[in-house]
Symmetry: none
DNA sequence: CCCTTGCGTGACAAATGGGTGACGGACGCT
DNA sequence: AGCGTCCGTCACCCATTTGTCACGCAAGGG
């Protein structure tokens, strides 16, 4: 998913956040000082910086300013964390360009939701996605429906993701490793055979169109283009 | 877009809001006192008044009362800004007819979202948007009424918002996170199961039409289009 | 033609997600 | 103050989903 740089000098809190964000599927990195934060940000430009206002060396506001001044990092999303609802700090936080603001104490759940919300908003405003159509197959991401030869076919959430991934990469072989990483999220190390099982289940549901989901022995799987020779 | 009159005696905050609302496409005007606010309102009747409760001369509540008493301005939307502690003020704010309130400290994003939401809500009746009708369901946003098979069914405020959100997105799956963010407002962090409970309550009230509110396991909820194949 | 390796498949247990009833706190009304 | 309503949370239970395994077939190389 997205990469989050957590900047807070209270290690306990930082690690708590870290643990929870990882659990929510983010990749993370910690920094306990402003300098370390800037270094880390330069090194692997994160998608979001979670920035505590009170830091031992630079203040969060200064860190913010530095980030905004760096052309590489200008567009990073910044979420400020502050201990109290200190009006003045908050205002300065927005002035230097924080994208959102979370007041401590906050629930981790809320923090995660805010992060996801802010990321979603900054991403493409994809209200609805045109369905992927392909020969007898049609996959409607928005409605989360799947049709084979015009007949709706129910897929589980995982099957749907797998099918979407394959259809979006029409004709290209996807290795097991790729699929594990991109469909499953790689978080849990799975037996590779798991994929085979799910491909089989998907084929069952494809019925007559099962031939479209090809095995490439020793490599992976792909959806073939029915219109191509 | 819409014209907003910002009334707050803390100039820094007022200007911060001003800056951000302009960024969000609103036209704005500032007033730092209650008198100035009333004058500005009379002069160029705004669509929304963002009204701080604590003002040097008149209180926000008095300003509100004056606005409501003026036949020209009676229908202006009023959003109160209150500090968290002033619970009692909040209540009085609604009593005199504020349309929404935002508790300080608020994130500017939240404020903008609230403004847009309230404008959308109020824009609907003027354009005489027909009620959302859908098979046996009819939801009249203007009158805030809901009918199942022609029979009026009372929904709580929250249920109404949830139903409206789902019906307005006919056929599209809405994830729990989306619902939390857009129906609940994500200002408060909620257990995810809260949504399930409310969906269940909604279904109860749908009676025979309960099947129209579908669960998409592992994904979210959607209203099905009864006219679609 | 045989052997090796990769894959398909059916079975199964564990994990997950969601429906539901109950509870209690907060709020608003009288 | 007393009462009813609304809403968030919880615990329990069930159905479905999902990961894993074992078995056997099929493909491909020698």
């Amino acid at each position: 998913m997205s990469h989050v740089l957590i900047v807070d000098d209270e290690r306990d809190l930082a690690e708590l956040i870290d643990f929870n964000l990882r659990g929510a599927g983010f990749s993370t990195r910690l920094a306990f000082t402003g300098e370390a934060a800037l270094a880390a940000a330069r090194e692997q430009s994160p998608d979001v910086v979670l920035l505590d206002l009170m830091l031992p060396d630079l203040s969060g506001i200064e860190v913010c300013r530095h980030l905004r001044a760096n052309s590489q990092l200008r567009d990073v999303l910044i979420v400020m964390l502050t201990a109290k609802s200190e009006e003045a700090d908050r205002i300065r936080g927005f002035e230097v360009g924080a994208d959102d603001y979370v007041v401590k104490p906050f629930s981790v759940r809320e923090l995660v939701l805010r992060l996801k919300a802010i990321l979603r908003r900054s991403a493409a405003p994809k209200e609805s996605v045109p369905p992927l159509a392909l020969g007898p197959l049609r996959l409607d991401v928005t409605a989360h429906r799947f049709y084979v030869e015009g007949q709706e076919t129910s897929l589980t959430a995982l099957e749907f993701r797998l099918m979407e991934h394959l259809m979006a990469r029409l004709g290209r072989v996807q290795s097991r490793e790729q699929l594990l990483e991109e469909v499953w999220g790689l978080s849990s190390s799975l037996e590779t055979r798991t994929i085979d099982t799910h491909v089989m289940r998907l084929r069952d549901k494809l019925g007559n169109a099962r031939a479209l989901l090809e095995t490439v022995r020793g490599v992976g799987y792909r959806i073939v283009d029915p219109t191509a020779g």
